[in-house]
Symmetry: C7
């Protein structure tokens, strides 16, 4: 199977745990080299994060389970990059 | 024949399989070095993806067959780059 | 004669042949190192492509003949770069 | 625990201490390699800063305590980057 | 005299000769390393080109004479870069 | 104390001394490697400058005293970067 | 005295001499490594140029005298960069 190298996820997270706990726990998962969470919207009970995860062979189901363990949920997937290297989307990274 | 080095495709995909399964299966095709799927629109029954595929000698028909095996379809082709190297479009990548 | 290093062409193409066939055939022409076709508009019977062609010494008439062999036509020329190297247009590539 | 490599914080700060004192004190914290404060809004009694903090293993609670010692408060967290390296968010840094 | 390294010219050109003939002839002038013509407007009888010319020591009058030999005319000069190296304009190339 | 590496200041300056005298005098201060003044607004009696100052260990009070010696004043501070290196603000420099 | 490394000037110039003569003469001044003139506005009797001048130790008064010898005048100064190196303005060059 071609490995997943980058995932960009839209995540809904209650205010607790905080985004720092969320990001550090997430990046602690085996196989994750880097996780960057950008807060894109704050509502009364929930924050929307865009979460960029990079690694040599990411496992979405383990990522999803970890996110749910952290009381959050994947609202949608913005980008998935797979393969022996990462291809940039020319319309975004050009 | 000059090889295809990059394909950027507009793909319509039902919600199942998910975009991660879609991207990993696709990038698993022989000859594909990297596949990046960016979700650009979500409708009730379908997602629109911009899929960037890179390799040394891509085969559109095998790509199309694989996409259809994954219950999705190529709605349109946004960009095709061929040759012994990849030329960037100055209006996009400049 | 100073060689042509890059041509950016506005091409009108019927739906058949497809843009992949179009780009691979075109980049197969002697002297073309790379051809990238970006679809910029889709009408009922025709697609408008912006085609970036790079090489050490491009020949417009052979490019035009090949494009016409492929049932398409050059609608207009967006950019021509000539010389012993390629100068970028500071207003586009700056 | 995966280390925090970059924090981008929205900070509310009274006019005293000034932003320079604020930034130098903050970057003086053990483990902080660099702190950059950009003033994004100035109100009658308060300034809003976007504070970018980088280090090999940042500690939010020590950062928060230091910020509060400086009479300021973290209004919200804009971005957290964790891991063995820093992943850029393609929608911002692309 | 400090040499001219880059000229960016606004050129009005009748439809004949074509932009490719125009650019190749122009870049054939002694002292021109590279000439890039971008079509910026097409009217009934005339095309407006932005022409970027680079070399170690360009001669405007020879460039102008060549442009007029090609039935075109310099409508205006957008940029001139002179000196022992090329300085970029921070408002354009920054 | 962590050193200040970059200061971006909003400076109000009467028309005399001129911006060149202002910038050269300022960059002459011990510890300043580079000072760049960009004029952002011109009013009847005053100019608003955005002044970027870089060095290994800047001293705001000496910078402020020098600016006041030059009959100008710091209207506000736009950015302060401190630490053993300079962190870029991803929302500005990304 | 800390040397001036870059000057960006707003220059008003009558139509004669032309911008090429203007830029070449200007860059011929001792101490100027590069001068780039971008035409930003054309009025009936005058052109407005943004002139970027780079060197190791520029002398504004000699630059001004030369500009006036060329029948033009400095309308305003957009940017001055001084020091042992050039600092970029993060809001423009970031």
């Amino acid at each position: 199977m071609a490995p997943i190298r980058r995932l960009v996820l839209d995540v809904l997270k209650p205010h607790d745990p905080g985004v720092v706990t969320f990001a550090t726990q997430l990046s602690d998962l085996e196989g994750i080299d880097a996780a960057t969470a950008t807060v894109v919207e704050v509502d009364e009970t929930v924050k929307t994060l865009r979460v960029t995860i990079e690694g040599d062979d990411l496992d979405l189901e383990r990522v999803r389970a970890e996110i749910e363990d952290l009381s959050a949920s994947i609202h949608s997937i913005d980008q998935v990059a797979c393969g022996s290297r990462t291809a940039d989307d020319p319309w975004i990274d050009g």
